[in-house]
Amino acid sequence: MKPRGGWSFVSPALIAIGVFFVLPVVAALALSFTDFDIYGVADRHNVRFIGFDNYRRLVATPLFWSALRNTAFFVIVGAPLSIAVSLGTALLINARVVRARGAFRTALFAPVVTTVVAVAVIWRYIFHDRYGFLNYVLGWFHIDAIDWLGDPHWSMPAMIVFAVWKNFGYNMIIFVAGLQSIPGDQYEAARIDGAGRVAQFRFVTLPALAPTMLLVTILTMVGYFQLFAEPYVMTRGGPAQSTTSVLYFMFEEGFKWWNLGYASAVAFVLFAIMLGGTMLQLAVARRWSRS
C-alpha cells in the first residue's frame, strides 16, 4: 500500500527553510550587486545597481586580505592542532587501562557545551598580561610574560589556544567512536607480524580512521572559518586588526557601518571559500584513498 501524505509531513519545514533561508540567500546575492547602505535604508531611491563593483572593491581592500590571512592562519594552524589534540586524547581515553572513563569523558567534553561568549570572557582574564594565569604559569618556567591580547603577533595564537581548548572534546568523541569500530583482530595480526606500537598506529589505526578523519577535518575547518565570537568578545578585532576574521569584517561592514550590499558580497565570498575548501578536501581524500 502506498503511503500518502508525505508532503504534508515535510511542508512546514520546507516552507520555513525556503522562506527563511533560501530566499534570503538569493536576496543576499542580489544585494551584493547593489550599493545598499544606510542611505538606502533611509530612502530606497538612494540604492544603485553597481554590478561587480562591490567584489572589485573587496579585492582592492587591504583589510579584507588581512582578514583572509588571519582566518587562514587560524584554520591552517588551529584545525590540525585541534584535531591532533582530539585524536591524542581519544587514543588515551580509549586505552584499556583507563579507570573512570566516564568521569574523564565528562570532564574533557565539558568545554564543548559551554557558551563561547562566556568562556571567552574567562579566557580574556586568563590571557591578561599582568594578572593572567597563563603568564603566571609561564613564569614558573622562567618564560617572560607574553602580552597575549595586546601584541598583534600573539593575539591569533591566543585565539587558537582558546579554540582548541573549547572544541577538542567534540572531535574526541567522534574519534573514540571511530577507534572503537576498528576490529581487534587487525591489531592482533599486526602484532604477530612484529609491528610495534607506533607501527600499529601508522598502519592499522590511521588508515581505518581515514573516513572519520576526513569528516572531522571538514567539520572543524568549516567551523573555524566562521571565527567571530572570540574576536568580538576578547579583542574587538584588534590589536591592530590582527584578529579581524572574515566574518568579523563582514559583521562590521554590515551591522556596524550598514554597508549591506558590500557586506553581502563578503558573505558570498566567504561561502565560496568554504565551499571551495570542502570540495578540495573531498577531492584530495578521494585521490588519496585511491592510491
Binding site: 550599493d35 547602505d37 544606510i38 542611505y39 535604508v41 533611509a42 530612502d43 538612494n46 544603485r48 572593491r57 598580561d129 591580547l149 595586546g150 598583534p152 579583542t235 574587538r236 584588534g238 590589536p239 591592530a240 586588526q241 551591522f255 556596524k256 557601518w257 550598514w258
Partner: protein, 446 residues
C-alpha cells in the same frame, strides 16, 4: 436561508466582541504614557535618578531609561534606526547628530524651541549650540558639554622642573621628555590609547586646515596641518613617552595616573568625578587640569558633549519634548552636574557658585571658548575610526631608532592612505550631493 442568516449573525457578534477586546487590550492603561529614553555611560546611570522628580512633576508620563555603553552605542543607534526600533528620546553625542539627521531619523525641534520658556539658544556656548544644527534646522538640544583636555600629575611635573603646565607643543614635549628621563623605561609620560581617536583628533582640530574639504566631499588629510598633528602624535611614541597600550588594557586610567604609570592623559569632565570617587583624600592634591596645548600656544579642542533628540518615529513627541525641557532646566542641570561632573552648556549656569569655587573646572571654562566641531557628515564616525586604525599602525611601526626622514615618510604614507579611504567612504555622499544639486549649488542637503 435561516441557517445562513443565523451563522452570519453569530459571526457578526463574534467580530464585534473581538474588536472590543482588541481595542481594550490595545489601550492598556490610558492614564500613563511611557517615554523611552536611551542614555549612555555614566549619564545613563545617573539620569535614572532624575526621573522620579520628573514623573512627579508630570503625572501621566513614565520614563523607561535604557543605559547603553559608549562602546556599542553608535552601533545600537544605527541598528535601531534600520530596524525601526528607535526610542522616543536619546542622548546623542554631537558628532553623531549630523549622521542621524541626514538619515532623516530625527524630528526637527525649531518649533518647540521657539515656544519654550526654558530652552533659549542664545544662552548656550555658540560653538556648542551649532552642533545641533544641520542646514540651519535644530535637531537637538545640548544637554551637556564636553571636551578633552589634559589631566596631569602636578608633583611629577614639578619634580621634572616645570612649575606650570605647558601651553605649546614645544613646551609639552620638553616637559614629557623630562618626566620620562626621571621615571625610567617602565613608566611613561602620557597615555595615548591606541584604540581611541580623540587624542589625534584633538591635535588635528588645532590646525587651520579643515579635516575634509569641498563641503565634506573629499578628505583633506594630506594637508600640512594634519601631517603636523600626526607627526607630533607619533613623536610621543618615538621618544617612548607613551606606552603602546589600548584602552582595554588600561581600563582604569585614574588609578594608573595616581600610581604614576603616566603623568598626562586627555580626558573629559567626568574624570573629575572619577578622581574624586576613586582616589583617597590624601591623593586629591596630586592631579590637576589644564587646557590643551596647541602648536604655538593654547590650542583648540573637540567640541564634544551630547544633545537630547527626539526621533521622528516617536509615538509621543509631546511627552518627549517635555522630558527634554525638564532636563534643560538650570536647576536640574546643576543636580546633573553634581551627580556626573558633566558641565552645563549654558553660560549663565557657569556663574553658579559651585563652578566658581571648584578648582578643576576653570580649565574647562577656558577651553570651551576654543572648541571646534568635527565635520558634520554622516560618514565622519567611520572616517575617524579609519584615522585611528592608520595612526595605530604607524605608531607600531616607529621606534626610538626612527629618523626624521623615516618619520616624514611614514606620515606621508599614512596621510595618502587616509585620504584614499576617506574619499572612498564619501563617494556615495558625493553622488547624493551632486544628484540633489547639480554643480553650482553646493548648499543642498544630501
Amino acid at each position: 436561508m435561516t441557517h445562513a442568516a443565523g451563522s452570519a449573525r453569530t459571526t457578526w457578534h463574534a467580530a464585534t466582541a473581538l474588536a472590543v477586546l482588541v481595542t481594550l487590550g490595545a489601550c492598556g492603561d490610558p492614564e500613563v504614557t511611557t517615554v523611552r529614553l536611551w542614555a549612555m555611560g555614566r549619564e545613563g546611570e545617573v539620569v535614572a535618578q532624575l526621573m522620579p522628580a520628573f514623573e512627579r512633576a508630570h503625572p501621566g508620563i513614565h520614563v523607561d531609561v535604557q543605559q547603553l555603553p559608549w562602546t556599542s552605542a553608535h552601533e545600537k543607534l544605527l541598528t535601531a534606526f534600520v530596524g525601526d526600533a528607535t526610542p522616543d528620546v536619546a542622548q546623542l553625542g554631537n558628532t553623531w547628530l549630523p549622521e542621524l539627521a541626514a538619515l532623516d531619523a530625527l524630528a526637527p525641534l525649531d518649533a518647540q524651541i521657539a515656544a519654550s520658556p526654558v530652552v533659549r539658544p542664545p544662552d548656550y556656548f555658540p560653538g556648542i549650540w551649532e552642533t545641533n544644527l544641520l542646514d540651519g534646522v535644530a535637531y537637538g538640544v545640548s544637554w551637556y558639554v564636553d571636551t578633552r583636555l589634559i589631566f596631569y600629575r602636578r608633583d611629577l611635573l614639578a619634580a621634572a622642573g616645570f612649575a606650570k603646565p605647558p601651553v605649546s607643543w614645544t613646551e609639552w614635549l620638553a616637559a614629557m621628555r623630562a618626566i620620562k628621563a626621571q621615571v625610567g623605561p617602565e613608566r611613561f609620560a602620557i597615555l595615548l590609547p591606541l584604540d581611541e581617536f580623540e587624542q589625534l583628533l584633538s591635535f588635528a582640530l588645532q590646525q587651520d586646515d579643515p579635516l575634509l574639504r569641498d563641503h565634506g566631499r573629499y578628505g583633506n588629510f594630506e594637508s600640512a596641518g594634519f601631517r603636523r598633528a600626526l607627526t607630533f602624535y607619533l613623536q610621543c611614541f618615538i621618544d617612548q613617552l607613551a606606552p603602546l597600550s589600548t584602552q582595554i588594557q588600561v581600563p582604569n586610567p585614574w588609578d594608573e595616573l595616581a600610581r604614576g604609570y603616566f603623568s598626562f592623559f586627555l580626558h573629559g569632565p567626568w574624570s573629575i568625578g572619577e578622581f574624586k570617587r576613586r582616589l583617597p583624600a590624601s591623593q586629591q592634591d596630586l592631579w590637576a587640569t589644564a587646557p590643551l596645548p596647541g602648536p604655538t600656544g593654547p590650542g583648540a579642542a573637540l567640541a564634544g558633549g551630547a544633545s537630547l533628540v527626539v526621533f521622528r518615529r516617536s509615538a509621543h513627541p509631546r511627552e518627549a519634548w517635555q522630558l527634554i525641557e525638564y532636563l534643560s532646566q538650570p536647576d536640574v542641570q546643576r543636580t546633573f552636574y553634581d551627580l556626573t561632573g558633566n558641565l552645563p552648556p549654558r553660560r549663565t549656569s557657569w556663574d553658579d557658585p559651585r563652578f566658581v569655587a571648584e578648582p578643576h573646572t576653570p580649565a574647562f571654562r577656558d577651553q570651551l571658548e576654543r572648541v571646534k566641531r568635527t565635520p558634520p557628515v554622516p560618514e565622519w564616525e567611520r572616517i575617524a575610526t579609519e584615522m585611528r586604525v592608520i595612526s595605530e599602525r604607524a605608531a607600531r611601526r616607529v621606534s626610538p631608532a626612527t629618523t626624521p626622514g623615516e618619520l616624514a615618510a611614514i606620515v606621508d604614507a599614512a596621510a595618502v592612505e587616509l585620504d584614499a579611504h576617506a574619499d572612498q567612504m564619501l563617494a556615495k555622499r558625493r553622488w547624493l550631493l551632486d544628484r540633489a544639486a547639480p554643480a553650482g549649488d553646493r548648499s543642498a542637503r544630501p
